[in-house]
Symmetry: C3
């Protein structure tokens, strides 16, 4: 499956892309407040009343399943004095979302249901003070939020992949494990790191045995969603510590698909990894220009997970090891790029997808 790729003479981005607080702020506006951002899994909030908190572009949001079962997103800010309504990172609401300061109470659809003694204030109307809402969308079991007042239609933004992953039945999967990492590096370094396997022989010898680095090919090569399949070596069945499956192969995969893993970047900040027997979702949450949080979740078929002999350890350990190798080298890259001596360097042909990520990044910032 070796493909012919070229980096077309592209080079790495200039230093200030990774070191400027002003550019970081512009990224928040032009990218993280404008694009659809993955904030978690529908399976994380399965029941009406279930909620989780999410951070997008520095804003804290309540993501909640309402009484009708629909998923909604609200800014975690009381309309009275601005207090955070909710402190716990996840949980279950009762009938209302109640502000702990003065007991203003909101329905799960965001309407202000009660505001003690405010009826004494002339002209006050509860209807004027619903929670500030954000657009949300559900795709393949993943929840996306868009902070823009006029969000691009989700179907248009995700057109390249709608229907593409049906065989994996992603919307049925559930998280078996979750790990959070704090990384001292700009968010783009992790996106770029995920976008090539040129580093696999030196950085991931174990991974490189399961999927030799030349075995990669991209089927989405331009735009906000980029990536493609990678062929397992003949002796390997999946990405695990021993190369063996960790669960049954997904039932609807057949033929060559059972020997492929798929890696996609959903620009700006989500990575979707599909193994024959499980899936993995990375979300990068930029904190500042040189600090990021990464949430990684391992998804399996719930039926498989109910089996007494189910054990995700070999899959979790494999990627946790690989993740740590990647985050560490990203931190070393951040340090090097911060040097006054850094100058943009040439991409290898196997880094053509980074060049595509960089192009999408510059387009999003409005620079062609």
């Amino acid at each position: 499956m070796t493909t012919t790729r070229t980096s077309g003479g592209a080079t790495t981005l200039p230093r200030h892309s990774y070191t400027s607080p002003e550019i970081f702020e512009r990224e928040r506006q032009s990218i993280f407040r404008s694009r659809w951002i993955c904030v978690g899994l529908a399976a994380d909030i399965p029941e009406p009343g279930n909620y989780m908190l999410a951070e997008v572009a520095g804003d804290n949001l309540i993501v909640v399943r309402d009484r009708t079962g629909a998923i909604r997103a609200f800014h975690n800010v009381c309309r009275h004095r601005g207090t955070r309504l909710c402190e716990n990172s996840s949980g279950m609401f009762g009938k209302h979302i109640v502000c702990p300061y003065h007991a203003w109470a909101y329905d799960l659809d965001g309407r202000l249901a009660a505001a003690p003694i405010m009826d004494e204030v002339e002209g006050f109307e509860r209807a004027d003070y619903p929670l500030h809402a954000a657009a949300s969308a559900l795709w393949e079991g993943l929840i996306f939020i868009n902070l823009s007042p006029e969000p691009e239609p989700f179907e248009s933004a995700f057109a390249p992949v709608i229907g593409k992953f049906t065989a994996w039945g992603l919307d049925r999967l559930a998280p078996a494990h979750r790990t959070e990492y704090e990384v001292a590096a700009n968010w783009k370094l992790m996106v770029q790191n995920y976008s090539e396997c040129y580093h696999c022989p030196s950085l991931h010898p174990a991974l490189n045995k399961l999927t030799p680095f030349r075995n990669s090919g991209n089927d989405l090569t331009e735009g906000a969603i980029l990536g493609g399949p990678m062929l397992l070596s003949s002796a390997s069945e999946s990405m695990t510590m021993d190369g063996r499956l960790c669960a049954s192969t997904f039932g609807h995969l057949h033929g060559e698909q059972r020997k492929l893993v798929h890696y996609y970047v959903f620009f700006p900040s989500m990575f979707l990894s599909l193994m024959p027997d499980y899936a993995m979702v990375h979300r990068v949450i930029p904190r500042d220009f040189r600090r990021s949080t990464i949430v990684c979740q391992w998804l399996f078929d719930p039926e498989t997970m109910r089996r007494p002999d189910f054990d995700a350890t070999r899959a979790v350990e494999f990627w946790d090891m690989t993740n740590r190798q990647d985050w560490h080298i990203c931190e070393q890259s951040q340090l090097g790029i911060e040097s006054s001596a850094y100058t943009p360097g040439p991409y290898a042909n196997l880094e053509s997808m980074i060049a595509a990520v960089d192009r999408e990044y510059l387009r999003a910032l409005g620079r062609p």
Copy 2:
């Protein structure tokens, strides 16, 4: 004692008032370097030579009782190389304040008394290098400092309250307890929090039993000193864990005064709370736009404190619990207000005093 109050359509301040380092710097200039700032109690430095350090607007000051018994304030900065003269937060000076670097020595009135080998420097005159002084004033046992080169006369700034609290004999009281809190919130949020009891039912159920939130009335409603009395419930005697007195009622209180507590904000950063049997002073020390230190002291009659059965625990525990509830909700407000989704919200009529605080704040910043 329920009074008719109205917030007059006022709303909370805009976000940047709580999140902008530039506005914080302007506040330091226009408020904390211009107003009389409470830095502690005369009872904290009872004897000549006693000193304590104070921070005002980021400057460190030595507050000292001089040989004549008068209280003086000096910047903690040697006139030679700028070194801090004094490190300990409180203590007793000998004859001089001696710089540890080159042994320049100052009298307690600030004059440079000795500067080794400086007589060799042509033109050097000790008289040219006294400590930089700040204006100070004493009122009801409280020490105030004013960093302005031309301070507003204290008597004019404090006219509304001079003589007002004579019945409590505040200048005779002594601190029985002191607690310092670090709070991750803008200083104004604590001032606003102290200025209303609308939050008492939800945040302070124990306090709300002793003084139901509707029992409040303000007798100073505009200007830099704001507040008024609150009526204890019929079953309560004071603000303590069990609602019983913690000491004898102050002797000069009579009639209804024995059933009242009084709460006053001294803008910008001091709160004076008067119970029938003790007093409490809060001082808010802004560190940056989102960090503050709060010093809380509990004051009692020294004669009472000498009694073998004196025990301030029920008073200290009651307010320590209440303080922590307040600081925590202020931190949650800071976080919510930092959100891009925050918009000013409407004040309840019971929050009319916050509206007055906000007006004073905007006047101090020179914005009508």
Copy 3:
């Protein structure tokens, strides 16, 4: 040896010299990227392949002894994606310096020796991607780096001292001990502190006994290298806890030289202290306008160090005690100078060398 010195009416620098991030950035450009900066000892990397990392003006550099025995300095930045090549603060390279990310490999003279699969990239030439080098120089066993693209010739910058210290045989000495200190003070405060002994009676009573503070005289009084000898008291032999020698007197010292210690500031950031029996080197590494790291090394004759009874403890303890007294007072000066009340103060005549340091500093910033 008391000399007549005058501070000529000079005063300390203005506050912003110690408190402004912008000035700190200007210092990095005009001083730390323009002058020859000491980064360590040749004896720290004795063998070909030995390296150590150094920080100059916020940049990280690899200082390595190449195959020919010459010392070279390279920015620790891979020419491919900018990753730091080397993490350990010191060690031994094999044949190449290999980037851990994609295995680009550099010779010890900086040439790119191998870059896997880059031959597939059209127009890629390894010769175009050597490591970014910095100028380096060796003098009396000390390694200096200059980040300027057109460095002032070392021989011209160091003309005042070339040949001056031959009697001590510094290039033969080896480090017996090394201590690193983190100091919360601007780097200039440590330079100024090292430049006068006016503070010795108050701050260093033990040191002042060995070398009474009046016993100092400077033989280099203008320019980037400043300082001179100080006479030991009649009862003292060296600067140690008991005033006795810690090793044999350097063989080439004779007559009065055996009763002298010498202290020189090499502007901006190195101090050279010569005792009759050992030497000491301080290097100040500015981190930001109020944080510095100081590395202190004690150097002895390697033959002496091989003796079974050799023990540097009395020398190490003496200066470690003195160092800590100095850094602490520098931190107190930083705090005082940050006060809005700080105003420049007059130098004593015994502080004439600080005035010379300040003049050199202002010249370096381009302000006469």
